[in-house]
């Protein structure tokens, strides 16, 4: 029956039978979240099987919450067989740190915290002003911590749909001993075969939810009923309008002369460094509201909320080349 034209409907059915749910018969529908979840579990298990000393980078943000949940599923009934690590910029929203500590306590997992503040004190990382974004500086602290603990794999919750450089990155992304990414010389990655071999000092960055989109993450959070920091849900907050964005008023981001402080309903789509993460106007108070908002949004997650990615089209790529995850 090969080679028939799509212009003939009857033949069409014989070659590419239209059907909306796969499997059929006794099988429960297998949807995109099932497929993505299973892929992530497969990747997490490969990391534990192939690497000696993995660590999961955990910030308390939504993507790392999903990753943590997937790790619980992957190794059940055993405990998660690796520690968590948070590279704390010292610029986090307090709600997120409180949430992070609650999660760690309730799961009984080991959390390592390494702070950018400490790297600055030691002179390893340098800033011009206290209010500079510390996002890029995280790379210094991260690479130092990798060497301190001898980690050979860092699991992260980055997704390819977030940013153009990330869309080109492998799921198992090789980093040299400086933590650097060489985008032009990546290991080919085929089928589901992952080459995690490294020499001492080198490491892999592994992204099990590479193929998830922002909408997938929210749907999964709703399906699995995962807890999140309150910042993700609509709340009243003091903000100032600056350019296209709403800047939250915090100890580090004060209104400039002439700017007008107003209290508005907002929520955060990403949670990161206070100096470069902005909320969006929103009244979404439940996961269902957020889902609806996510699928109808006209801006990307980073475009709407991150001021650091906007400075240059290549800023993410540059940071990754310097060791950023």
């Amino acid at each position: 029956m090969k080679g028939e034209s799509g212009s003939m409907k009857s033949t069409q059915a014989a070659t590419f039978t239209p059907l909306t749910s796969s499997g059929g018969g006794a099988w429960a529908p297998w949807d995109h979240l099932d497929r993505l979840e299973s892929e992530a579990i497969h990747i997490l298990r490969e990391v534990v099987a192939q690497c000696v000393r993995p660590v999961l980078l955990f910030s308390g943000g939504k993507d790392s919450m999903v990753l943590l949940h997937l790790a619980r599923k992957a190794f059940h009934p055993q405990r998660i067989p690796f520690p968590l690590m948070h590279v704390d910029t010292g610029h986090n929203f307090p709600e997120v740190i409180t949430f992070r500590d609650q999660v760690v306590k309730s799961l009984g997992v080991n959390l390592i915290v390494r702070s950018v503040e400490e790297s600055i004190r030691q002179g390893r990382a340098r800033v011009r002003f206290e209010s500079d974004s510390r996002n890029a500086l995280q790379a210094v602290t991260l690479v130092d911590a990798i060497h301190e603990f001898g980690f050979d794999a860092c699991l992260g919750g980055a997704r390819r749909d977030e940013e153009k450089a990330r869309a080109k990155e492998r799921i198992f992304s090789f980093r040299d001993e400086f933590g650097g990414w060489d985008p032009k010389n990546q290991r080919p990655e085929l089928w589901d075969l992952y080459n995690a071999h490294v020499h001492p000092g080198e490491n892999m960055r592994v992204f099990p939810i590479s193929n998830w989109t922002e909408a997938d993450v929210w749907e999964y959070i709703a399906r699995e009923r995962l807890d999140l920091p309150s910042l993700y849900f609509a709340h009243r907050r003091e903000v100032v309008a600056r350019g296209d964005q709403w800047i939250p008023v915090t100890p580090l981001t004060q209104p400039k002369v002439g700017e007008h402080v107003e209290e508005r309903w907002v929520r955060f789509r990403t949670v990161g460094d206070m100096t470069c993460t902005c909320p969006v106007p929103s009244e979404a108070r439940t996961l269902e509201d957020i889902l609806r908002e996510t699928v109808t949004s006209t801006l990307t997650e980073r475009g709407a909320t991150r001021t650091d990615d906007q400075t240059s089209e290549a800023s993410m790529e540059l940071r990754k080349k310097q060791g950023y995850f």
């Binding site: 090969k2 080679g3 034209s5 799509g6 212009s7 069409q12 070659t15 590419f16 239209p18 059907l19 909306t20 749910s21 796969s22 499997g23 297998w30 949807d31 995109h32 099932d34 497929r35 993505l36 979840e37 299973s38 579990i41 497969h42 298990r45 099987a49 599923k73 190794f75 059940h76 009934p77 390819r160 749909d161 153009k164 450089a165 869309a167 080109k168 985008p183 990546q186 290991r187 080919p188 990655e189 085929l190 089928w191 075969l193 080459n195 071999h197 490294v198 020499h199 193929n211 989109t213 749907e219 709703a222 399906r223 996961l287 269902e288 889902l291 990307t300 475009g303 089209e313 290549a314």
Partner: protein
């Protein structure tokens, strides 16, 4: 609330093959635009770049060219993955560059694709590049192929031109023995036949490209194949009736498995029965291809990572020797002195290449016997010998158990990928 949120969309992964001239970027751009997957800030960014470069139209390839070097040189270097969705389905597009290193990149992008779209220019029909692309798609075992006959606007949307190209492709593709081919006439530039029918081709009553992508049946073959379960990890489970239990963690790569099934453990060749299937959500009575599970066997037989649990009735081959078609990736040509590791399913062992019997000329589909050298982008038939027996199938029958990568034991680079014949 849970039910309302779970709308049960399937995920389809596909690859697009064609050069810039065929309108590949325009086609992807059209799919993304018309499915409302390009957001305002992304559009503003590529609009600004296009204007800065003095282009009169927004360059849609900028949506996928993510690296600085790509933007500077205006070329695509590496496979990019794009994500979009419609109410019916989620899609992942592997967008591969058409020129330099095309074999290596296309093989990579095709390895995880369920379906391939081959772009043809309605004016030119089958060209050299079509032959290469079709050949690689076929070798990588993609069963579903859509021939998008593009630029119909330049042939006055004529049915004759479409039929001519279609016949030409069928004649050429005959020996390739594709199972499913669907032809769709379209104009990526104007949008006809991509998401909407448009009014120019009343003679075409088949689906638009997107309609087809939304309704293609997925993974029925992988469900109907023989059961294969490569073990990733072995874990200790809670005791039952005073007996210690161990579970094999992994993903069902093909077929299905149910509690009570008799299974084979390879390479040891011992048989046992499935006594339980465990998941985080609790015990289940059966599992299907794609599911990550923990499998418990009735007998306490020795098992470890790299072993495979498989169907007793239809077992895979277990052997230290096999033949494969290999795509060489490394910039360094094959050197028999270098030590190699073979990574197949969850097993990674030492191996060596015994024979290099022929090189496949991708332009002519001819086999060239005893090639003098194996260099980057070459496709070669090789004979392998590995340290311990591997459980495998022909790639043609099973993409997961029939595929492997070659790793340089010293540099740790992935130097090649192979498909067992």
């Amino acid at each position: 609330m849970e039910n309302k949120l779970k709308n049960c969309q399937e995920l389809l992964r596909f690859i697009t093959c064609g050069s810039v001239d065929d309108g590949k970027s325009t086609l992807i751009g059209r799919l993304l635009l018309d499915s409302r997957s390009v957001l305002a800030d992304q559009w503003a960014a590529i609009e600004a770049t296009s204007t800065r470069r003095g282009q009169s139209q927004v360059d849609l390839s900028l949506l996928t060219d993510g690296l600085q070097a790509e933007r500077e040189q205006g070329i695509t270097i590496d496979v990019a993955y794009r994500y979009f969705s419609t109410p019916a389905r989620r899609f992942i597009i592997a967008d591969t560059p058409g020129h330099a290193q095309y074999t290596r990149n296309m093989v990579t992008g095709a390895s995880t694709a369920d379906l391939a779209i081959l772009l043809l220019d309605a004016r030119k029909g089958v060209v050299e590049q079509t032959r290469r692309h079709a050949q690689i798609v076929r070798l990588l075992g993609i069963r579903k192929v859509v021939i998008a006959v593009n630029k119909m606007d330049l042939v006055a949307y004529g049915q004759e031109a479409f039929e001519r190209v279609k016949q030409e492709f069928l004649n050429f593709a005959e020996p390739l023995d594709f199972r499913d081919i669907v032809f769709i006439p379209l104009s990526a530039l104007n949008g006809d036949g991509v998401v909407l029918h448009g009014g120019h081709m009343p003679w075409y009553t088949g689906p638009t490209l997107l309609e087809l992508l939304e309704t293609v049946v997925l993974d029925e073959e992988i469900l109907n194949s023989s059961f294969r379960f490569p073990i990733q990890l072995v874990t200790r489970l809670s005791e039952e009736n005073g007996e210690e239990r161990r579970g094999a963690q992994g993903r069902v790569e093909s077929g299905t498995v149910a509690v009570g099934d008799e299974v084979l453990l390879l390479p040891s060749g011992r048989t046992s029965r499935v006594s339980a299937i465990e998941t985080y959500a609790g015990r289940i009575s059966q599992a299907r291809a794609g599911q990550s599970i923990t499998l418990v066997l009735a007998d306490q037989i020795d098992m470890s990572r790299g072993d495979m649990i498989a169907s007793v009735a239809h077992p895979p081959r277990t052997d230290k020797n096999f033949e494969a078609l290999v795509c060489w990736f490394s910039h360094t040509p094959y050197d028999p002195e270098r030590r190699l590791l073979v990574q197949q399913t969850t097993r990674c062992i030492q191996g060596k290449i015994d024979t290099v019997s022929a090189r496949l000329d991708i332009q002519t589909s001819q086999l060239v016997p005893s090639p003098a050298q194996v260099a980057m982008n070459d496709l070669v038939h090789m004979g392998f010998k590995v340290q311990q027996p591997l459980a495998f199938d022909r790639y043609e029958d099973n993409r997961t158990t029939g595929s492997f990568i070659l790793i340089d034991a010293l540099t740790h680079d992935t130097v090649a990928a192979g498909m067992i014949v």
